[in-house]
Every structure is written in structure tokens, then in C-alpha cells.
């Protein structure tokens, strides 16, 4: 009776292992061209400083942001407010290619700014400032509560 010589079977198994390994490598290599763009772009282009600048400006303006009202449109305050808003939009667009806008207090009784603030507690009246920033890759919206500075306490 002839017996089968099976001492060489590991060669066949190694062949399979190498083939599977090469297949896996080929998959990895074929994925490589897809990487370049997104990683480079997302890391470099996140507009952290730009958003902080905008936010910082609004916070430092704070309660000096002039009041606007739909009841008396085209008032001096409204003109001033719109100028400030337009300046910010223009600067953001020309320097950062971004849309920037903000609004102070949600619309209530035909007024955007109201004396009691959006919220209040014992110490302060708070005005809600909604910031919106979009540069095509990152879109950012924030609602900020600013305490109103009151010199008379």
C-alpha cells in the first residue's frame, strides 16, 4: 500500500498565507490615495482663531452694543449697529472668506434689544448674543449670555 507523503503540506499553507497577506497589502495600498486631502485640509483649516476673534470682539463690546428696535427703525443706534455688523461681515469675508453675523436678543415685541435682558438674576441682566460663522468647511453657531454692565448698580 502506497502512503501519501504529507510532509510538504506546510509549503501549501505558507503559499496561502503569503497570498492572503499580499491581498491585504494591496487593499491598504489602494486606499492610500484617498487620504491626502481631508486630513491636510481639516487640520489646517479649522478657523479656531477667527472664531475666537469674532467672539472676543463681541464679548468686549458687551453691553455697549447699541440697542436696536423695530419700533423706531433707522434710529441712530440701529444705523450704528448695522454699520458694525457690516464691518464685521466685510472683514470676515475679505480676510477669512467666511460669513459672520450676530444678533442681540431674540425678537420680542418688535425689539431686538430689551432692557430687562433675555434672562436675569439677582445680580445681572443677561443679553443673549447669537453668533453665526461659516467658511464653507466649518459652520459655527453659538448663543452667548452677556451680563449687562450697570454703572448705577
Amino acid at each position: 500500500m502506497e502512503t501519501l507523503n504529507d510532509e510538504g503540506q506546510w509549503i501549501v499553507m505558507m503559499g496561502f498565507l503569503v497570498a492572503i497577506g499580499m491581498f491585504m497589502l494591496a487593499i491598504v495600498v489602494s486606499q492610500a490615495p484617498l487620504v491626502g486631502q481631508t486630513t491636510a485640509e481639516s487640520v489646517m483649516e479649522f478657523p479656531k482663531n477667527e472664531i475666537q476673534d469674532l467672539r472676543g470682539k463681541l464679548v468686549s463690546m458687551g453691553s455697549t452694543l447699541p440697542e436696536i428696535s423695530l419700533e423706531t427703525p433707522d434710529s441712530d443706534q440701529e444705523t450704528l449697529q448695522n454699520r458694525f455688523r457690516e464691518d464685521m461681515a466685510l472683514l470676515s469675508m475679505s480676510r477669512n472668506n467666511a460669513i459672520a453675523n450676530y444678533s442681540v436678543d431674540p425678537l420680542y415685541n418688535g425689539k431686538y434689544w430689551y432692557d430687562s435682558g433675555t434672562y436675569g438674576d439677582v445680580f445681572y441682566k443677561y443679553h443673549q448674543i447669537d453668533i453665526h460663522y461659516n467658511n464653507g468647511v466649518t459652520e459655527y453657531s453659538e448663543s452667548l449670555l452677556l451680563p449687562q454692565w450697570d454703572p448705577e448698580g
Binding site: E2, T3, P33, G36, M93, I99, H132
Partner: protein, 271 residues
């Protein structure tokens, strides 16, 4: 010593054995030559095209850095294999009937703005394969030679802001002092020294974008997929039914509250 059923070898011919083995060897060699080699060559062409696609995305990112990040100069070394890269100047493109865009802004049926843009291009044409990859107007687009259709590999960064109703369009022109070609390894030097021209229209109206393709270098399908798809705005631009006449543009429209157009000119200094 193995047990053998038969020890008799009288029916075994050395000549026939040689012929059998020799045939197997020759068949093996010819199968590899006829089928294996072309597959390898195709794989090389494919990988060349893939690498160039990636290179073009790198160059597009360079253009983005020049135009968006206020960087004046930029250079990148790339290796071009299996084809060549050509620079087409925007004015040369205008004289040679290249592709162009017209932008029109219509406020209450009054045309407030209308302009023509010849973007020029930085184009890779494959020698062995059929792929053509091009950077034009800030986008990377791809097509196959002598075939209809095209695809957008990487979008330009136009965007629409839903809460402000603002559409921002970047038109990027490529210029160069002379025509340039690159095969092999070279450094592409780019500069943006002219400040961008900004048009800002705060009144709501209808934007109309007409794309006039170059019949020999037609990327209309890529732009139509980009503009009507959910890339700029979720619902996309609306597209007029194409007339089908050669030379007629594809017309896209969108109603917006505010339109901003920024025009950039990127100069290729040398490759």
C-alpha cells in the same frame, strides 16, 4: 523505502515525459506573456493615474492655501509618470475656445452683475492610459479621452449659508507668462500677488451660472453633478433642460438673499 505496487517501468517513455513537461513550461510562459504582462502594465497605468489624481489634489490644496490663507508663494515638487502636465493660461484659453463660465445676478429682473470667466487649467493627460485630470476653477475634474462624461474628483469650495441665505462663489483664474509642460519630476511654483476682486450683492435675487464647455475638453457632466447635487446647497441649483445644440451652455439657477463673488488670479511661475 516506500512500498510500490509495481516495479515494472517498461511503459514509461522519457521522450513523452520531456514533451509533456516542455509543453507545460512553454504554455506557462506564454500565458504569463499574453495575459499576465498586460495586466501588470494596466496596473501600472492605473496606479500612475491614481497617483496623478492625488498629485492634482495636492496642487488644488496649494491653490486653496494661496487663495484663502493669504500666502503669496507656494511650490510643490511632484513626479509625473505616464503622461504630462500642461498649463493653459486663462487668456490663451480664451483665444483657443476653452471652457468658460458666465455669472449673472438678477435682482427684480434687473441684471445687476454679469461677467465672463475663462479659468484656464492645469491639466494632466495620460500617454498610455486614457485619463485626463484637470484643475480648473478651483476644482479637480477628470474625464476619459474620446469618451463622453466626466467626474468631479475634488470640489471647489463654493458654499451656501442656510441661515444667512448667502451664496459664496470663488472664481479662480490660472495664468502663466508662457505655456509650460512637465513630464517627470518637477517643482510647480505658484504665486498669488494680485489681491482678489470681491463683488458683494446684499440684495436678494437669482444667480445664473452658465457653463460653456470646450467640445474637446468637456467637463459639463462634472459641473452639472456638482451644482445640482447636494454639495453647495442641499437642494442644489436648478438646471435648465439642455438644448442639445453644440456650443450651448448648461444653465444653472439659484435664488439667494445675498451673493458674494471672489475672483482670484493664481500665477504659475514655473514648472
Amino acid at each position: 523505502m516506500k512500498t510500490r505496487i509495481r516495479e515494472d517501468e517498461s511503459g514509461v517513455s522519457e521522450a513523452i515525459g520531456f514533451i509533456l513537461i516542455f509543453t507545460i513550461v512553454i504554455l506557462g510562459i506564454s500565458i504569463v506573456t499574453l495575459y499576465g504582462y498586460p495586466v501588470l502594465a494596466d496596473a501600472k497605468i492605473n496606479s500612475d493615474e491614481k497617483i496623478m489624481e492625488q498629485n492634482m489634489i495636492v496642487l488644488q490644496n496649494d491653490i486653496k492655501i494661496l487663495t484663502r490663507n493669504n500666502v503669496p508663494y507656494r511650490d510643490t515638487t511632484i513626479g509625473v509618470s505616464g503622461g504630462s502636465v500642461f498649463v493653459t493660461n486663462s487668456t490663451a484659453s480664451e483665444n483657443a475656445g476653452g471652457e468658460y463660465f458666465t455669472l449673472t445676478y438678477d435682482v427684480n429682473n434687473i441684471i445687476t452683475f454679469s461677467d465672463m470667466y475663462y479659468p484656464g487649467s492645469l491639466e494632466f493627460v495620460s500617454d498610455e492610459g486614457t485619463a485626463v485630470v484637470s484643475i480648473s476653477n478651483g476644482a479637480v475634474v477628470k474625464r476619459q479621452q474620446d469618451q463622453e462624461g466626466s467626474a468631479m474628483v475634488s470640489d471647489p469650495r463654493w458654499f451656501y449659508d442656510e441661515s444667512e441665505g448667502t451664496l459664496v462663489i470663488f472664481m479662480t483664474n490660472i495664468t502663466s507668462s508662457q505655456s509650460m509642460t512637465l513630464g517627470g519630476i518637477g517643482t510647480i511654483q505658484m504665486a498669488m500677488l494680485k489681491p482678489p476682486v470681491v463683488h458683494d450683492f446684499p440684495d436678494s435675487g437669482t444667480v445664473e451660472i452658465d457653463y460653456f464647455p470646450n467640445p474637446d475638453d468637456d467637463y459639463s457632466r462634472a459641473w452639472s453633478n456638482y451644482l445640482t447635487g447636494p454639495y453647495v446647497k442641499q437642494e442644489g441649483f436648478s438646471m435648465d433642460t439642455p438644448t442639445g445644440n453644440p456650443g450651448d451652455p448648461d444653465i444653472y439657477r439659484l435664488d439667494v438673499d445675498r451673493l458674494v463673488i471672489k475672483e482670484y488670479t493664481v500665477e504659475i511661475l514655473g514648472i
